[in-house]
Symmetry: D2
Subunit: 285 residues, 4 copies
Amino acid sequence: MPASIQLSECSYGKTGVRLVKVERHGARHEMKDLRVEIQFFGAFDAAYSEGDNRLILPTDTMKNTVYVLAGQAAIGEIEYFGMRLANHFLERNAQLAKVRISIVEKLWQAIGCNGRPQDSFRLLGSELRTAVVEDNRSETSIRAGVADLAVLKTSRSAFANFLRDEYTTLRETQDRLLSSNVSAQWSYKSLGQDAATTWQAVRCVLLDVFAAHESRSVQHTLYAMGRAVLDRFACIDEIKLSMPNRHCQLVDLSPFKMENPNEVFVPIDEPSGLIEAVLQRCASE
Amino acid sequence: MPASIQLSECSYGKTGVRLVKVERHGARHEMKDLRVEIQFFGAFDAAYSEGDNRLILPTDTMKNTVYVLAGQAAIGEIEYFGMRLANHFLERNAQLAKVRISIVEKLWQAIGCNGRPQDSFRLLGSELRTAVVEDNRSETSIRAGVADLAVLKTSRSAFANFLRDEYTTLRETQDRLLSSNVSAQWSYKSLGQDAATTWQAVRCVLLDVFAAHESRSVQHTLYAMGRAVLDRFACIDEIKLSMPNRHCQLVDLSPFKMENPNEVFVPIDEPSGLIEAVLQRCASE
Amino acid sequence: MPASIQLSECSYGKTGVRLVKVERHGARHEMKDLRVEIQFFGAFDAAYSEGDNRLILPTDTMKNTVYVLAGQAAIGEIEYFGMRLANHFLERNAQLAKVRISIVEKLWQAIGCNGRPQDSFRLLGSELRTAVVEDNRSETSIRAGVADLAVLKTSRSAFANFLRDEYTTLRETQDRLLSSNVSAQWSYKSLGQDAATTWQAVRCVLLDVFAAHESRSVQHTLYAMGRAVLDRFACIDEIKLSMPNRHCQLVDLSPFKMENPNEVFVPIDEPSGLIEAVLQRCASE
Amino acid sequence: MPASIQLSECSYGKTGVRLVKVERHGARHEMKDLRVEIQFFGAFDAAYSEGDNRLILPTDTMKNTVYVLAGQAAIGEIEYFGMRLANHFLERNAQLAKVRISIVEKLWQAIGCNGRPQDSFRLLGSELRTAVVEDNRSETSIRAGVADLAVLKTSRSAFANFLRDEYTTLRETQDRLLSSNVSAQWSYKSLGQDAATTWQAVRCVLLDVFAAHESRSVQHTLYAMGRAVLDRFACIDEIKLSMPNRHCQLVDLSPFKMENPNEVFVPIDEPSGLIEAVLQRCASE
């Protein structure tokens, strides 16, 4: 009998659901700027193999639901909005085994207003706040994060005593530029009503450790950043960090009879290093 | 005793190693245009936790190695080049548990030359050929693929009889535009010397089934495409397909007293559907 | 008396009006995929200085108009569609001094269909066809073009005998890689009903001359390409070419005791050269 | 006699010259992150038409020169660095009629350091500072600017009393969201040693007027912003503003029996309005 074919994984959903919500408290406005992604997992095999759509809620309905829930109440922090969306879909869709809600928030700041209405904003930066909520009916995981947090150190960054082989030409250095676009995602063991405060505090720890660290490598600094978050936040039990090493090459000015005492660099986008790790809190023994 | 912290996953490597190789056979030249990524997995904990770099081969050396291997012999198909790189790193680095090589190839075509030297090329399209080789010393997995293969059907694409809830406003349709940027990655049970021929043949099957299919949904067409690949290629035992549904909305011309008999559409980038699945060949029973 | 302030230039319009038009001839379909930009020039000063919108046709109406005209008749070639749009706006808007319509077309190709309906397409490449129509009521200029035409020569490309100063380190070469993303825009002295044929023919000449040329520099090749177009197409009286020089650096393999006989290169995106020129046909004397 | 062909415009140069300069004052470091473009204009016809490179300074030398000048002295403000580069090239290259230096600066901020060395930075935002210096040997023009300054108003933004035609469906509004990515470039009649202070002050005026304005249209707000700059800075005699109107569409929640009192919006990237103007100071009469 011939081998047959099975659907070993499947999912479908909507990506890029963009949403600006304005919340007006008299002359003081607040705004949120989100991009939401919804992904459904479950027993949809007949939709794939037979074209039977009876268990397929349209992705257009997912999109509508985002706007409906945004209209029904204040968005609040994105971790909570993700949970509301996940609950909504699971409660009404018995066919779902799991739902994943991913939200990316652009951060805006009110423009100083000197007594004027507070109704004007500027984009705060290129960095993004993220949240991923995954619910499989028995467990809810909540990961908060930051993406594209661009940082650079101009000293106290070394890379030496590394492994060498016949194709190694890199020189050891005690003093290189270290530039990265940090992405971090941390998992909450428990999350209370303070998602905003915690997010701000974690972001500050990440920046602060990056700035304070006497770095022997990107790996070393990444670990110190993750460790500090786990050390200081009992509510977090895991953190994933991803730190590209965006190289800045020292320019060789010797053809022009000039020295370059670690001052003039060419930042390059490609190639770049890519350093990743997950740090976990172990159960106490 | 307090909880301690462990590194549950870690990896590092180089991304964006770009390479153009010209192979000259008299007046007939061939060229390859690749972007290579190398990722190392293994017991590097001390590098992270202690800043001990003694087991860290620099990512700069990974980059050099790509150029050395490219210079030593013809590149050949990217699946083989990925295997050469994976072998090279595993043989010389006992500290590695696993290595992953990911290669993306841009496709160029010789410009018709009427007896001239064949030394001029144009980029064939926006689609990319991909290969991922993963070797953990006991198993080598080879996945070939295509990315960003933009396709569009102007008829024989329906979406009806789907699940509805109170937030569903989508109308059933027998005749919508179906536009996608197909990504597919297939795993070879065995791969002989015909990686190029097989890649071309799989790509043709994907396009051909997309064009021929009487689609009831993106899920339905995705499955048909994957199934056809498994049916026709005994050397492939798994295929992952990812097909965004890039919506084309029918423009409402009724305010202008005009009909729009399925002719004028607005393609939109966001939001989009995202449909994914993995199809596997089951062991014969 | 104090200096006052004037509006020395102003314009407004709509950009990114995307449009897919399907034209159905029985089982044989055709499709166009356009992005249209409309820009109005004229005496709108009061809109700027006073907030008086009485002469401001909304950009939303410009967008609607694109869809209406697309629905009324076959799109045809983009040069003609641009002229229809320009005429439409000028005829109905006495306040306009000039209108500019810019259209970018993505190129799709029918997937081979073996007797099936011809209703499925794949994107042909990353290159784009462009048209810009400008009408100031006394003159209509029509520029057709191509953008992002990626080409690469692997021999017969030199750069030598150039000017040197104390900061010049570049070596002379008789044999470098020459890689560019050609953009060209040519102006029609007169344009008949053959915009499609002419566009194809000009594109072929550009590619053919690029491939055939014994290049002494990008400037030299750019000129040869433009000159050939003016020589062969009496209906064209001007062509602008823009050719970045996307450097491919020869990799230095000498640290590894290897030669690199012009085979292994690193293509880099930044920095790049940028070479531009406009060639015109002079009036005969 | 047949028509001949002339080169009516030509230029060449280097784009994407990236530079990070670190200036170390003991434990307090400063950094600049620039992308420089150099463009040469002059009588290079023989390079194009004959492949005669004798008057062509390689673009590679332009790049080297940027690094040499960056190494010789503090960069200072980008307007001054642009002037140094322009002077350098004009003085040494008699063949040049004009040179244009364009610089884009990414803005970084020191991470708060509590007594630590100030050697760590984070990218301040997505907005960019720009400068363009053009020198044709008889005149030097200096334009400073800001690009990608993303702003949004949640009230006091109307669009009404506009021109309507048969294809107008837009409703009048007294209260829409107004979102834009402002680009502004202003020309200095004279520029002293205070380029940094002036740039900061102009940027503040632009933000402040955007926030304070009772907007009747993007045109109206753009004009108010430009006018305020000319009113307050006697050293500036012209300003060009470019403001896309990045539409935020009110979501229709009526199918779900909900109101949407100007709260839930979909921001869209395409299509967008594009409003531009140049304001000039007239000579006093």
